[in-house]
């Protein structure tokens, strides 16, 4: 029964290189409205303050960024608002020349002042404004605007990841005028320079955009508009794809969902698969007893059988690879043999659980009970929650599994109103600095939901950031990883595997290892 299905899946599964050739072999057609599914509703419209794809899939089509990734040659970087850029020989000055005649949707012209205002907001948000990228841009010393189409970033220190940071999809460019009037405005209002203009957001239903006739990239977008339909229930999303109400879902579906769609839709469906720059983390609130005790945190991490879980969960969910702080398979990732020596990654689960019980006893927490906060997204949060509850029960810990909507879930974590949470590290490339930022002290990076502050971690982070020698940098990353796992502030549970279904009429959309990229829909067209 499974063999023909898997065979069909195999036949339909494309490497993303294959899809490019298919999409680019034909002349793009103009017109049409793309309806696609978004499996979560954005808590607000501001990518600066967000770490969930729900915001990007909602907001990206309305905005531009300074640089972007060329998904045909990922991870190569290309200009978006920037026409060109140069980096000084000492790697401390980045100069960007902007495209001319770029208009915001309200008709005003984009200038270098808008870039400056955007990056000032990102690196040093005013009172009442949240920026999740403060740590990312902490190395920026000054931003100068010598003329309306040139912007110069001067760094305090060399940062080997800076170009990747400039290409981040989260750094949507806002109007300086809008930010001056209301710095928190982008949370609720949209005025960008992207390929689509905002039409409406009907809560619980959809977001709609229409073609921006003044888009600065001539000839784009191809679509007349789009509608992102919120399908919070996986079954509703699958039915909508199967019935043609939506033509795809660009985040990712589970293996079982893939098999169901392939079996029902046959050659009308395109399936693309890739490893995923995304992991789930187990995060302990280190400010709250008993999770301020390293013994308790370590005991709970030791109880998790990641290797066994990986085999089982990969059959029923998007969770797959066991990995450390860098995506498994990436150049700077920790090899399996080395990983297995770290706390929480040992392959002898019986011994690990015996040690876990001993640690709980030493901490006086033999009857530990707590609430595990989780997001109410079926895939893969629910399987991860079920798995963790089971793993912790096996060392006598009683866990209440609390699943909530994205907004209250994020609010609980940001406010520190939780015991333990299933957090996520939502990356857009394999640059270690990006993934390690999650582990920086909370005082430097509010995205560290464990709220841990550890100068040793911060020091190692800085050292690897400035290190030019790959082997030395690798050693520093390993040291940081070991420190974080020994302290048990937070730890990756499993890394994801991305499976994207689209109707074959959807062309020009490009698969990548990150669901945060390619969400602007500028080059997507419908072959109908």
């Amino acid at each position: 029964m499974k063999a023909p299905i898997l065979g069909l899946v195999g036949a339909l599964a494309f490497t993303f290189g294959g899809v490019f050739s298919e999409a680019h072999a034909q002349q793009p057609k103009r017109g049409g409205i793309l309806q696609f599914a978004i499996s979560a509703e954005a808590p607000h419209y501001d990518p600066h303050a967000s770490d969930t794809y729900a915001t990007l899939h909602f907001s990206s089509p309305f905005y531009s960024t300074l640089l972007t990734y060329d998904l045909s040659k990922f991870p190569a970087i290309k200009g978006d608002l920037a026409k060109s850029w140069t980096v000084s020989p000492d790697k401390l000055t980045y100069t960007f020349v902007l495209n001319e005649g770029v208009k915001f949707h309200d008709g005003t012209t984009l200038t270098s002042e808008d870039i400056k205002a955007t990056y000032d907001r990102l690196r040093n948000p005013p009172q009442g404004v949240v920026s999740n990228r403060r740590a990312t841009f902490a190395d920026i010393d000054t931003i100068e605007t010598p003329n309306p189409t040139t912007v110069v970033f001067k760094l305090k220190a060399v940062n080997s990841s800076m170009l990747d940071h400039f290409a981040s999809p989260w750094n949507t460019v806002y109007s300086a005028k809008d930010l001056a009037a209301d710095p928190a405005g982008p949370r609720t209002k949209i005025n960008g320079t992207g390929p689509f203009t905002f039409v409406e957001h009907v809560k619980g239903s959809h977001v709609a955009g229409k073609k921006n006739d003044n888009y600065f990239k001539k000839g784009l977008p191809y679509l007349d508009g789009y509608r992102g339909v919120f399908t919070l229930q996986a079954a509703a999303m699958l039915n909508a794809i199967q019935g043609g109400q939506v033509l795809g879902e660009f985040r990712g579906i589970s293996p079982a969902e893939r098999d169901r769609l392939v079996s029902a839709m046959g050659d009308k469906l395109r399936i693309e698969e890739s490893s995923w720059t995304l992991n789930l983390l187990v995060s302990f609130n280190t400010e709250k007893p008993p999770f301020n005790d390293v013994k308790v945190r370590r005991a709970l991490l030791l109880a998790i059988d990641r290797w066994g879980g990986s085999q089982g969960l990969s059959r029923i969910s998007t969770l797959r690879a066991v990995g450390g702080v860098v995506r498994p398979g990436a150049p700077l990732a920790t090899p399996e043999a080395e990983l297995a020596k770290l706390p929480g990654f040992g392959k002898d689960i019986k011994a690990a659980r015996a040690e876990a019980r001993k640690l709980l006893k030493e901490a006086g927490q033999e009857n530990l009970k707590f609430v595990l906060w989780n997001r109410n997204l079926a895939m893969p949060y629910t399987p991860a929650g079920i798995f963790l509850v089971d793993q912790w029960r096996q060392i006598g810990v009683e866990v209440e599994h609390k699943q909530s909507d994205t907004a209250p879930y994020i609010a609980a974590m940001q406010s520190g109103n939780f015991d333990v949470a299933i957090d996520f590290s939502n990356l857009f490339n394999d640059d270690p600095t990006l993934s390690l930022t999650k582990f920086l002290s909370h005082k430097k990076n509010p995205l560290n939901m464990s709220r841990a502050n550890d100068d040793e971690v911060d020091k190692l982070y800085d050292q690897q950031l400035r290190e030019g020698d790959v082997e030395k940098r690798k050693a520093l990353i390993r040291a940081l990883e070991k420190r974080v796992f020994e302290q048990g502030y937070q730890q990756p549970l499993l890394w994801w595997h991305r499976i994207v279904p689209t109707h074959k009429v959807v062309m020009g959309w490009k698969m990548s290892p990150s669901h945060n990229l390619g969400a602007d829909l500028a080059e997507v067209w419908l072959n109908q």
């Binding site: 996986a234 089982g312 029923i316 079920i386 599994h401």
Partner: protein, 298 residues
């Protein structure tokens, strides 16, 4: 062989049956449903002893195993034993079903008796309030309440879920009990109590309420079935209990939707459990009505 025969003149006195035997004799279907309910209650109370496996323990080696001697009803996508989860699920269903039905029926009965006793404007206001609640379909009203309230777990039970399910029951019981209480209100003993100067609360609770117990019990029993169904519906919609709790409605949602083609037992057995429980409580409620209501005795 000696044959002893009873003297022809000896009259056989009719044996007086107890109320339980009387119910079994007059309502055999009701008795069968009562047996099903008792089995469910036994399974719910002693689920740790009855269930062959821990309902929460994951066994990846047994993912989606078909029914067998090891797993009578098969396993789910996490390798959890479905039979054990159904047994433990009966506890969830019965606790929420009984609690919600008791709260909804009791509050509804109090409202109905008060409405009938006071009459006039108070009766008008209470009945318009009841009309408003009755205007919503049961599931819609429960959805609104459960979505508006945050989850509050006390002793392993989500009290807000119980509250959400009891709200739609309240007006339905109030309307029926009010009708019964209206006929009681005009009884001479109520007039006598008034004349004796008893307080309103004493008249309501001591003299009227005991005389509407029959419709109250019937409604209470019947609404246990509704409450179990509502709990299953809300859990199915993701608004009731959360994974990994063993609950029948929850067993029909989540992974079941992904794997029901490959493993139909994932939805078959929880579906049967829900149907059987609802059928048993409905049948028992009907039988109780037939047994207690003198109009049905003819």
């Amino acid at each position: 062989m000696a044959v002893i025969s009873a003297p022809a003149s000896a009259a056989v006195a009719p044996r007086r049956r107890g109320p339980v035997m009387e119910f079994i004799y007059k309502q055999p279907l009701g008795a069968v449903s009562l047996v099903v309910i008792l089995i469910m209650m036994f399974a719910g109370i002693f689920s740790e002893l009855v269930a062959p496996y821990d309902p929460l323990t994951i066994d990846f080696a047994s993912i989606l195993a078909a029914p067998s001697w090891d797993h009578w009803m098969g396993t789910d996508a996490y390798g959890r034993d479905i039979f054990s989860r159904i047994i433990h699920g009966s506890r969830t269903a019965l606790v929420i079903g009984f609690a919600a039905s008791f709260i909804g029926s009791t509050l509804g009965a109090m409202l109905g008796v008060a409405s009938a006793f006071f009459g006039g404007k108070i009766d008008d206001w209470i009945q318009r309030f009841v009309d408003v609640l009755l205007a919503f379909p049961i599931i819609v009203l429960a959805l609104v309440v459960v979505a508006a309230l945050r989850k509050t777990v006390v002793a392993g039970v989500d009290v807000n879920l119980v509250f959400a399910i009891s709200i739609p029951i309240l007006p339905r019981v109030a309307r029926v009990v009010r009708a019964a209480a209206l006929s009681v209100r005009v009884m001479p003993y109520v007039d006598a109590a008034r004349a004796a100067g008893y307080s309103n609360s004493r008249i309501i609770f001591r003299h009227m309420a005991p005389n509407v117990v029959a419709p109250y019990l019937i409604m209470f029993t019947a609404f246990i079935a509704q409450a179990i169904l509502l709990e299953a519906s809300l859990s199915f919609l993701g608004l009731g209990v959360t994974e990994p709790t063993a609950a029948w409605g929850l067993m029909l949602s989540g992974n079941a939707a992904d794997f029901y083609r490959e493993a139909p037992w994932m939805i078959l057995f929880p579906g049967i459990a829900i149907s059987l429980a609802v059928f048993a409580f409905n049948l028992f409620g009907d039988s109780l009505r037939d047994y207690l209501d003198p109009r049905f005795r003819v």
